[in-house]
């Protein structure tokens, strides 16, 4: 299986985005109940950079492999899950960063697709809600990715989203896959 990074979001149709999301195979972390918990000595900085014992992990492929095992427990703590072990990871802000966005529409309505710093595509909707936090003047937008982990929209992606909201309504909310999401914190 050779690895092909998805092409730039702007070039993709909604069908192609859906196919890319569908094709991504991930480790079945939800089926694992490891008894042991240890410290991974890893940290994910606010800009999405992974560190191991203070040194940045520079290879994107390595980050993608680790990110495929990420979960966030009900206690709010992030961890890498393997069948044997839960390895705690310190996360400064969110585990992922959304670095690009594109809006597409089909007969069912609009869909907002995001590209993450790990090359993955996520379509906002009931399974991947958008959440606005922070204060109303400088809101922080988060997208649910998987297993409790979120992606923080980086500044340019947030501006893309805000511009889209102004072009398609009042600017205070957006709709994707049949669900409305507020862009300012409640």
């Amino acid at each position: 299986m050779p690895y092909d990074a998805p092409p730039s979001l702007a070039a993709l149709s909604l069908t192609e985005i859906a196919a890319a999301v569908e094709a991504r195979k991930l480790p079945p972390v939800a089926s694992w109940r490891p008894a042991e918990t240890v410290d991974s000595h890893m940290r994910i900085a606010a800009d999405g950079t992974w560190f191991h014992e203070g040194a940045p992990i520079r290879r994107p492929a390595m980050v993608r492999a680790f990110a495929s095992l990420l979960v966030r427990g009900e206690d709010g703590r992030h961890a890498l899950l393997t069948p044997e072990c839960r390895q705690l990871v310190e996360v400064e802000d969110a585990a992922f960063v959304a670095v690009d966005m594109v809006a597409r529409s089909d007969e069912t309505g609009p869909a907002l697709a995001f590209r993450l710093n790990t090359d993955e595509l996520v379509v906002a909707g009931p399974e991947h809600p958008l959440r606005a936090a922070g204060d109303p003047d400088t809101p922080a937008l988060y997208l649910a990715v998987r297993h409790g982990c979120e992606a923080r929209l980086d500044r340019s992606t947030w501006l893309q989203l805000a511009e889209y909201a102004l072009d398609h309504g009042a600017g205070s909310w957006v709709e994707s896959v049949g669900q409305r999401f507020a862009l300012t914190p409640a």
Binding site: P2, Y3, R24, L26, A61, P83, E84
Partner: protein, 199 residues
């Protein structure tokens, strides 16, 4: 603790505690200069475990286009386990931290002059592995049950450097596993007695 890791560790320890006659090796064909190498036999931790194999890039100097385990030559001062993990990392972006090593198995000396130590380990399944295009064209996973079934180990006679020799072919899903890789699989399958479910 993973049940697979425990079971493989038990079979590995039991299987390597005895003398086994007629393990495969091509040391009689090897040149006088022997170089140490290591490969990783990565078993995926899932209900039907698999083994990760790679396709070498077609233009590699040695073993071009062949099916192989991730692996390569030892760097100076390196042991076999470190080298196997490093090579799997370089070739597939398999993080060493995610490999639980069980141990090193029987060495295999190739006709091309490599003394290969196979290293057995368990890895999480379905990792997004990324082949390094300068070394590996792609990777695939073969069920351990299939690889270790003697019925799938087909003996062949091949001509190699003017000599007739016996080799083993293992076919799976359109892939042909032969030569050194097949011989290492057969040796390990004899050590592990994987298929004796009650054993």
């Amino acid at each position: 603790m993973s049940a697979l890791f425990e079971r493989l560790t038990r079979l590995f320890d039991e299987g390597h505690g005895v003398e086994l006659a007629d393990l495969h090796s091509d040391f009689n064909l090897a040149p006088p200069e022997i170089r140490a190498a290591a490969v990783l036999i990565a078993v995926t931790d899932r209900p039907e475990p698999g083994v990760l194999l790679t396709h070498r890039t077609p233009d590699m100097r040695q073993h071009a286009g062949q099916v192989a385990f991730p692996g390569g030559k030892l760097d100076p001062g390196e042991d076999a386990i470190t080298a196997a993990l490093r090579e799997a990392d370089e070739e597939l972006a398999l993080p060493p931290a995610l490999v639980r090593v069980i141990g090193a198995s029987d060495r295999f000396v190739t006709g091309t002059g490599y003394d290969i130590t196979p290293v057995l380990g368990v890895v999480p399944p379905d990792l997004p592995l990324v082949p390094n295009p300068s070394e590996v064209a792609g990777w695939f996973e073969v069920p351990l049950d299939h690889l270790f079934d003697p019925a799938n180990h087909v003996g062949r006679t091949r001509e190699w450097r003017g000599r007739t020799r016996e080799t083993i072919d293992i076919e799976w899903g359109g892939h042909l596993i032969w030569g050194v890789t097949a011989a290492i699989i057969v040796n390990l399958s004899r050590r592990l007695a994987w298929r004796d479910r009650d054993g």
